[in-house]
Symmetry: C2
Subunit: 185 residues, 2 copies
Amino acid sequence: MNYPFACKEKYSKNVVDYRNRGMDLETLINSANEYYIEEDKAIIYKKPTPIGILHVDYKQNRIKDAYFKDKSTFDYNGVYRGRYLDFEAKESHVKTSFPLGNIHEHQILHLRRILRHGAISFLIVSIHDEYYLLKGEDLLDFIENNTRKSIPYGYFKEKCYKIEERIRPTLDYLRVVDEVYFKGE
Amino acid sequence: MNYPFACKEKYSKNVVDYRNRGMDLETLINSANEYYIEEDKAIIYKKPTPIGILHVDYKQNRIKDAYFKDKSTFDYNGVYRGRYLDFEAKESHVKTSFPLGNIHEHQILHLRRILRHGAISFLIVSIHDEYYLLKGEDLLDFIENNTRKSIPYGYFKEKCYKIEERIRPTLDYLRVVDEVYFKGE
C-alpha cells in the first residue's frame, strides 16, 4: 500500500541530494563551519561522538571495543560575535511534521540550562527539502503548550526562520542567526 | 644517577594523590563541572575524545576498530555568566617548569582564534602540587616573547592565578575566573 508514496519520497530525496551536491544536513553544517573558520567569522565545531572505551590495543594505539553513549547535549557549539552558540541539527524524514522523539529528554534539559545562562541555542531542522532555524525558546514553548508529539510543517513555515541555500557556504545559517539574535546591533 | 630524584618525585606524587582523594586534574575538573551544573552556576562539559571510526559491528552496535585523532581544540567548553568559556587542563610532570610541548600548535591557533571572537580562554596547570590559571593572553605573550621551551615554575607563582583547593568542589576554578575576568561586575 505504501509503495507509491515510498517511491515518491525516494525520488524527491534524490533531487535534493543532487541540488546539494549529495550532502546531508551534517555535511552542510560542517562545511559551513569550515568556511566560517577560514573567513574568521565564527569558531564553531561539531563535538566528537561520545563513546565509552572498553578495550584499547596499546601496541597499535587503536580502540578495539567501544560503545556509543547517549547524547545529553547538542552536537555543535562555539563562539560567535562574543556569544556562546550551542545547537543541534535534525533531519525530518517525514515531510508533514518533525517528530519530537528526535530530541532526547536530556537534550531538552540541556537546552533549558544553557538558555538560562545566556546561550544562543536553536535547532536547524531539515524538513520538506527546506532548512529552518527553530529558536530554543520556541521549541520549549511548543513542548509546554502542546500535547502533540510532532511539530507540523506549517509551524516551521509560519514561526521559524528559513535558511536559504547559497553558493558558499550552501547553508549560511549565521546569516539567519544575525537576523534573529543580533538585529539592530 | 637520577634514581634518588625519581624516587622523591614518586613519593611526593603519592602524597598529592592522597590529599585529593586519588583524583588527577581531569577528575577534579570533571567533578567541579558536575558541581557547577548541579548548582546551576555554569554549563561546562569535557568534549568527548575525538576518534576516527574504522569498523562498527552493527549487530552489536559496537565500535570494533577506531583510532585516536589529534586534538586541535581545547578539552572543555561551555557557558558561564553569558560568556563562552573554553579551556584546557594540563599536568606538568616536572616540578620546575611546564614544557610547552604539552600544547599542540593547532591548539595555539585555536586559542588565538577564540580570543579574537571574545572567548574567555585559559589553561589550568597543575605544577609543583599546585593549580594555576594561566590566561590565554599571557600564554601567547610568553610564547611570542621567549625562546624558552618551557614556562618556569616561578612564572606561575608570579604571573598566574592560584586555584586554592577547597572542600566542594575541590578545584573551584570559577572562583578564580570571577576574580580574573569579572572583577567589579
